[in-house]
């Protein structure tokens, strides 16, 4: 009989993995919500975030969690550029073009990273890496706690931003109805850039957290990027609460799948879940009927 401690441990692993998914998925939803655009290369942006943080860490040696804020900004700006010079141009020419554009971006970003930094394995060492919190029932490393706490913090900040600030409200307005927002004086192009920037920054934070918890290389982002997609569809396109629930859920489901069925199904189970959701409730858990 499996002990409770073991199950609790799996729960914690699933939760942390879920947090990374949540950061990615919320970012994707931001972009989709405002621009109705798909970016399969979101995982590569995550990877760039990891490398940006790594670069900063390598040269300054400062606390990587602190540096993460800077890399979020850097990658956020990068995201804005991708939107401005890439996606803005194909907006309206059909969804397929958006999909193909992002495919091209995957190849470019991934291989540019390999050229720049080689595909050797890198790691960011957190100053807390040896410290653990003993909860009696189990041990959690500080890094893991920080990851979970940070995710929660970001979500709260995002929530406040969207609800309480003018810019946030403009963003929400744009995501609901472009024309109405424009009529109200919102500069929609600015909103596009902002949403992409925020989305990219979130991906960068996910990448950094991932890089602190495990070694990485330029190929680290592709699967998490695709998984993020699965998450937002399961949660409901455009719904941030959906992304949070679905992200955490996926992390948990995957880890319990590994536990009960073995590692071979870890990726497949996400897609099986996706297919089930699409067949039963295509709009996702929290999605609205479009």
């Amino acid at each position: 009989m499996t002990e409770i401690t073991t199950l609790l441990q799996i729960f914690i692993w699933g939760l942390t993995a879920g947090c990374i998914y949540v950061l990615m998925a919320v970012g994707l939803n931001m972009i989709f919500g405002v621009m109705k655009v798909v970016n399969f290369a979101h995982g590569e942006i995550m990877m760039l975030g990891a490398f940006a943080s790594f670069g900063l860490y390598y040269y300054t040696g400062l606390n990587p969690y602190f540096l993460m804020l800077f890399s979020m900004v850097i990658i956020g700006v990068f995201g804005v550029m991708i939107e401005r010079f890439g996606f803005r141009k194909v907006l309206g020419t059909g969804k397929l073009n958006e999909i193909f554009l992002s495919l091209g971006l995957i190849y470019i970003l991934q291989n540019a990273a390999v050229k720049l930094w080689t595909d050797d394995i890198k790691k960011i060492n957190s100053p807390y890496s040896s410290m653990t919190l003993d909860l009696g029932v189990l041990n959690i490393t500080y890094d893991r706690i920080i990851a979970i706490a940070f995710t929660a913090l970001i979500l709260i900040c995002l929530y406040l931003f969207l609800i309480r600030t003018d810019v946030g409200r403009a963003l929400r307005a744009t995501s609901q109805n472009h024309e109405a927002a424009m009529l109200m004086g919102v500069n929609v192009n600015h909103m596009y850039m902002l949403s992409f920037g925020i989305g990219a920054a979130l991906a960068a934070s996910a990448g950094t957290v991932h890089a602190i918890l495990s070694p990485f290389n330029p190929y680290m982002g592709t699967i998490p990027g695709i998984m993020a997609f699965t998450v937002i569809i399961i949660g409901g396109l455009g719904s941030i609460p959906g992304a949070i629930i679905a992200g955490l859920m996926l992390g948990l489901v995957q880890n319990f799948t590994i536990f009960y069925f073995g590692g071979a199904w870890k990726e497949a189970v996400a897609f099986v879940l996706l297919i089930i959701v699409l067949v039963i409730r295509p709009t996702g858990i929290f999605g609205e009927e479009h």
């Binding site: 798909v38 399969f40 890439g86 141009k89 194909v90 020419t93 969804k95 397929l96 073009n97 999909i99 193909f100 554009l101 495919l103 091209g104 971006l105 995957i106 190849y107 470019i108 970003l109 991934q110 291989n111 540019a112 390999v114 050229k115 592709t222 695709i226 997609f229 699965t230 569809i233 071979a264 199904w265 990726e267 497949a268 996400a270 897609f271 099986v272 996706l274 297919i275 699409l278 067949v279 295509p282």
Partner: protein
């Protein structure tokens, strides 16, 4: 009519262009004796087949991001059958059929899905297939890598397959046999694609692609045609896979790779999505570039460049190279082309 107009009407019509290409294709092995270049050309034929199959599905508005799944199913199914004694020809077609049946299954799931949903599910499907095949290795030994050439030819002798197709000749090098095998398979695939697109079925595909709602209102049975598109396209892909597997002497789950799924997409888009010549030109150009860059030692760079090509295509040349080519042939012949697939 002036001579020029006559010339334009017949000589530069797409049919004569194709006829010329076919004649060149038949004669090529006599000229190119280097095994390596032979292989490059054969690989190009393969990619043309695979891209054509993807293009057909995209023609019906369904852009699959996991077409490698069917390559693999065709490859594995046919190889396993042939290793166990089934005659090669039957094995190859059975493999294609298997791919088609699975394609039907996937199609049913995807009928109500559009664009990214479809893309994501097809992508995920390739991953699921890879996992499933991997797990099956417990029951079917050596899925870790089946020595497929052994399967197809029994004794590493491609003559066997050629023999059963009636093109066996003791004087021609075995390379030539694989060449003609792929050549005719490719021509067959292109022909089939052409026939489908020009038929009522193709018309329905186009209608669905352009505006699904309207097509429905006009009385087109959307589900039926979407599924037909899936079945034909995946049959072709499976067929290509069944021939591809023995050509590499070895098949393993790597065939389900994301790269294999993306190649036909890049190739078709470069050539011109939705046209018949598109996948051909695209596969030719991209594969030649790909191999040439490989020769220059640019293994990583060429991936990067593929991405750049795709992005530039989407941004600046979304219809691919076909319109450019048509413009050139128009100029030469003094005709104006209608904007229809070749």
């Amino acid at each position: 009519m002036t001579v020029r107009e006559l010339f334009g009407k017949y000589a530069v019509s797409s049919y004569s262009a194709y006829l010329l290409l076919v004649m060149i294709g038949l004669a090529l092995p006599l000229v190119i004796t280097d095994d390596f270049y032979n292989r490059i050309i054969i690989l190009t034929f393969f990619y043309i087949m695979f891209s054509t199959s993807w293009n057909l599905l995209a023609y019906s508005g369904q852009a699959s991001l996991g077409h490698a799944a069917f390559l693999g199913i065709g490859g594995f199914a046919s190889t396993i059958l042939i290793i166990n004694g089934v005659t090669p020809v039957l094995g190859v077609f059975s493999g294609a059929l298997a791919a088609s049946l699975v394609g039907l299954f996937l199609g049913i799931i995807c009928v109500r899905l559009k664009e990214w949903f479809l893309g994501l599910v097809t992508f995920g499907f390739a991953i699921i297939m890879a996992a499933v095949v991997n797990e099956l290795s417990v029951f079917i030994e050596a899925i870790n890598g089946i020595l497929s050439a052994v399967g197809l030819s029994g004794n590493m002798d491609p003559h066997m397959l050629g023999g059963s197709l009636g093109i066996y000749s003791p004087d021609i090098v075995s390379r030539a046999q694989y060449y003609y095998l792929f050549f005719f398979a490719m021509v067959g695939t292109i022909l089939a694609s052409h026939l489908v697109i020009r038929s009522k079925i193709g018309f329905a595909f186009a209608a669905i692609r352009e505006n699904q709602a309207e097509a429905g209102m006009m009385g087109v049975d959307i589900t039926r045609y979407k599924l037909i598109a899936f079945m034909i396209s995946t049959f072709m892909a499976g067929f290509a896979g069944a021939l591809f597997a023995p050509y590499n002497y070895f098949i393993n789950p790597e065939i389900f790779s994301i790269h294999n799924s993306f190649m036909p997409i890049i190739m078709t888009i470069s050539g011109g999505i939705g046209t018949i010549g598109g996948p051909i030109i695209g596969a030719l150009v991209i594969n030649i570039l790909w191999e040439q860059m490989g020769l220059w030692g640019m293994s990583i760079d060429r991936l990067l460049i593929l991405g750049v090509i795709l992005v530039l295509e989407i941004l600046f040349l979304p219809k691919g190279l076909m319109p450019l080519i048509k413009k050139i042939t128009d100029k030469v012949a003094g005709t104006t082309s209608r904007d229809m697939p070749l």
